[in-house]
Symmetry: D2
Subunit: 104 residues, 4 copies
């Protein structure tokens, strides 16, 4: 993941795109990519949505949009100096307290 | 990342939440979390957005929402059997062909 | 609708909020409110979603978010001098050509 | 507005699309269209965003996406039996209490 973050930073720097990568713009781009994922599923039934990867064209689109979401998330984390894995680990810890599992 | 994915799967299983985790629902939840990131930035100027982490309360909110986005992205990848790092690596390869850097 | 647009403009002006109402910020706010609608429905089955108005609390939330979406849409139209009803009428005309109904 | 709502309902009925128009699907589609508006503005500065309508191509796209957002909002209101203008009027009333203007 650190290596991908470095490739993304170099990619943006080589195209002089860093000027556009304010946190405000990156979160907008992230939400746009997340919506492009939603668009693939918006008219599907729950059952159809569970089978989406059996259609090669849709499987490619979904994988491509997942990459776009991760791309902007990592670029945002780079710009804001956030460690996404540490952030998620801390969040799971908090959720385990907030939503105790039955029987624990 | 694989370890966090396992913790997320166990967390959902222990609460019997897997029934809600259709791909369609997970992408909706992902886009909702991405919008909660946007909400933090929506009225800020570009300059204010660049300083967002210097406010401890906002820094916490941003980090928390980043965790939520990553959480749903990883859960979606788990359900659809997508490798997010491989997906991103392939996407950067394609983008390097699609948007050649000047001077290369 | 014109009267509501006037009330919204006066509301913003009386609070000196017009400075925040760039088109860029208004579309971000619009998308955030649309996601708050999605949040209400994200874990519901299609059948549960069809019955959402029979729960008074959820009915209030849905109606409230519908108002927020319309509020930012009208404020965006005001700032950009767009007539939303004319825009929609023209769009339906185009869609009728693009997606001919069977039997016509 | 009531007339546009009727045209939208007839348009969907003539194509047998009503089966897809659960509230859950309509709010997803609404949020996708709102994000398509965001996409137009995502890399613009506030100043560029204020001049967006002076570019005829962008003006067309913005107007078209405004129509799409309004289209799904009205279809959602039809399905849920919500009066969007009454909802917004009530919301402005509440906001006037919640955010008193200075000097009033």
């Amino acid at each position: 993941m650190a290596q991908l973050q470095r490739r993304l930073a170099e990619f943006a720097a080589a195209r002089n795109w860093q000027q556009y990568h304010t946190p405000k713009n990156l979160v907008a781009a992230l939400s746009v990519e997340a919506s492009e994922l939603v668009e693939i599923f918006q008219w599907l039934t729950p059952e159809q949505s569970a089978r989406v990867m059996s259609d090669p064209k849709k499987a490619f689109r979904v994988t491509d949009e997942v990459a776009d979401v991760l791309s902007y998330l990592l670029q945002l984390c780079e710009v804001l100096d956030i460690d996404p894995l540490a952030a998620l680990s801390a969040k799971i810890d908090r959720n385990e307290e907030r939503f105790p599992a039955e029987g624990t």
